[in-house]
């Protein structure tokens, strides 16, 4: 485990952040931080698929849904099954990983735009399925209440604090896993596939297993996020997993810097902060000044502005990975090369698929 050794400073936030509830007694702040934590987990998971392996997934919310519904069905009155929260963290990430493989398998031959469209389809199908399987999921009403987790006989109840601590622990675990994956053999295989899939196969990389591993591991993170999020809310319903969730998580990667774990965390937290704190607080402020303004209505416009600004001024993200930075620097130096690369990425089979000989 290289985590603590190579970047000792990386341990620091996980020593300080657990103390936050002692300093800030405002439950709504802790609640906000916990929700932001769930999205950090999602972003770290999607980063494995998109950032590490370069597979554009527009339907990632599907796995969040699968994780959440796993908890709802296996830890509530719905079927009278009550698997403990801690066990469900493991079970749901395995279930999500299996679905990652099932949904990933048909896309193995697809790249770029085509892959994006198929994953977009999956992202729509999964919540729709939960919506329509009324006899199992209560359709649009969702499933509620869900079992409250407990630790050493103490139930979590309605305070956000225990969920906050759990979320921090899960993020620490996810960062540890992601860091080690990135520097592993599998991580190098992903990097090679992201660069040039055909060349990767020439190196003896089994691209099928490497891609499926990316889908499975990426999905397993959202299994964790789903369980923690559902348990905290004590509710799941299909409308929590709409397309905009997939877009939001992807935007977090773009903002923070795809492929860079710390960048992804910063990007994720920034958007959550705008979404869950800045906009509602500004609205409150406006109301207190007797202005009839609801800033939360402008959320998506603001995302749009941020993303366009990022694309114009810092396309590699706030904290880019080494390779991403190289990619965009190269594009500036040599537009012709960049255009060629672009074509290779989006038009399917590259020059290697030619019939020459």
């Amino acid at each position: 485990m290289k985590f603590g050794r190579e970047r000792p400073f990386a341990v620091l936030p996980f020593l300080v952040l657990p103390l936050v509830p002692l300093l800030d007694r405002n439950n709504s702040h802790i609640d906000f931080l916990t929700n932001a934590g769930a999205f950090i987990l999602l972003a770290l998971g999607l980063n494995i698929v998109v950032g590490f392996a370069g597979l554009l997934d527009l339907g990632y919310a599907a796995f969040f849904a699968i994780g959440s519904y796993s908890y709802a069905m296996l830890a509530s009155q719905q079927f009278g099954i009550h698997i403990p929260f801690w066990v469900m963290l493991f079970v749901a990430s395995v279930i999500a990983a299996i679905f990652g493989i099932l949904l990933g398998a048909p896309t193995l031959r697809l790249r770029g735009d085509y892959l994006a469209i198929v994953t977009l389809g999956f992202g729509e199908i999964v919540p729709q399925t939960f919506l329509n399987l009324t006899q199992y999921t209560n359709g649009p009403n969702g499933i509620s209440p869900l079992d409250s987790p407990s630790l050493f006989g103490h139930s979590f109840g309605f305070s956000a604090t225990p969920y906050y601590e759990v979320m921090l622990a899960l993020i620490a675990l996810a960062v540890l896993l992601a860091t080690n994956l990135q520097s592993s053999r599998l991580g190098r295989a992903w990097m090679a596939i992201r660069e040039d899939e055909l060349a990767a196969r020439h190196m003896g990389i089994n691209t099928t297993t490497a891609k499926l591993a990316a889908f499975a591991l990426g999905a397993s993170f959202s299994g964790l996020a789903g369980v923690a999020y559902a348990a905290k809310l004590s509710l799941v319903s299909p409308d929590q997993f709409q397309f905009n969730v997939s877009v939001l998580v992807l935007s977090m990667l773009v903002l923070g810097g795809m492929g860079n774990i710390w960048g992804v965390i910063v990007g994720s937290f920034t958007l959550s902060f705008i979404n869950g704190f800045l906009l509602p607080q500004s609205t409150n402020l406006a109301h207190s000044m007797h202005l009839n303004l609801d800033f939360t209505n402008y959320r998506f416009m603001l995302y749009g502005v941020i993303l366009v600004a990022m694309m114009l001024f810092r396309p590699e993200g706030l904290i880019p990975s080494k390779q991403r930075r190289a990619e965009f620097r190269e594009a500036k130096l040599d537009p012709a090369l960049a255009a060629e690369e672009q074509g290779e990425y989006t038009l399917g089979p590259g020059p290697g698929a030619g019939t020459g000989g």
């Binding site: 660069e195 060349a199 003896g204 020059p351």
Partner: protein, 236 residues
């Protein structure tokens, strides 16, 4: 029996037949070259051998073992290295990382380090540029990297797809010199070239491919001297 035995190989892209009953063999220690015009099926033959393209019919045996149904990664592990058409170095990775990826199928760190040292001895330019991004190398250097990378899998058979393409005559000399060196150290070589004269001049044997068929097969010296081959492929 040869190290590589290809028999009656048919391959197609969609409905277009690319190989029509190609047979060839490469013995241990040889340099064999496959020459022919653009579109003759040279690259396709290599792709079929390394499993990147599934042959429609025919057999490929490597070291006595049928490999035509194996996946490309298994074939690399068995000892077939393939330096691809158009080099395809990982442009945004350093030279060193490219070489590391070439050794992807291997585990022993010490052996990998030793082989990387050997690649650096063979190609001193790569050592100078070890930490540089591969995309910033010149065409000749990229070709050296592609060959070095393929060598990192420690292949018994090294397949080179048009290593001279787009290089200056001087660099072509260098590259062909290195191919001979690699061969002298015990690696069997299957070389594809449009530059038929040069390829035949370093090869032991040669095959001439024409629209997916082998039309001539003989000792390289015989092909070089042959009237028919000279007029069709060597410019008289």
């Amino acid at each position: 029996m040869g190290l590589l035995e290809v028999e009656n190989l048919d391959a197609q892209y969609g409905r277009i037949k690319a190989l029509d009953g190609v047979s060839l063999s490469v013995d241990e220690g040889e340099i064999v070259t496959l020459v022919g015009a653009n579109g003759a099926g040279k690259t396709t033959t290599l792709r079929a051998i390394s499993g990147l393209l599934k042959a429609a019919r025919g057999s490929v045996r490597f070291a006595g073992r049928e490999i035509s149904r194996l996946s490309p990664d298994r074939i690399v592990r068995l000892g077939v290295g393939h330096s691809p058409e158009g080099r395809r170095v990982f442009a945004r990775m350093s030279v060193r990382d490219n070489l590391e990826l070439g050794a992807y199928t291997r585990r022993s760190r010490s052996e990998i380090a030793a082989d990387m040292e050997e690649v650096f001895v063979t190609f001193p330019r790569l050592r100078e540029r070890a930490e540089q991004r591969a995309g910033t190398l010149s065409g000749g250097e990229q070709q050296m990297l592609a060959m070095g990378r393929a060598l990192m899998s420690r292949p018994k058979l090294l397949m080179l797809d048009e290593p001279s393409l787009g290089l200056s005559p001087l660099l072509v000399e260098t590259i062909f010199g290195v191919i001979r060196q690699i061969n002298a150290r015990g690696t069997t070589i299957l070389l594809i070239e449009q530059n038929a004269r040069q390829a035949l001049s370093i090869a032991d044997r040669g095959y001439v491919l024409e629209v997916g068929r082998v039309v001539f097969a003989d000792k390289a010296a015989v092909l070089l001297a042959s009237e028919a081959v000279r007029t069709a492929y060597l410019g008289g």
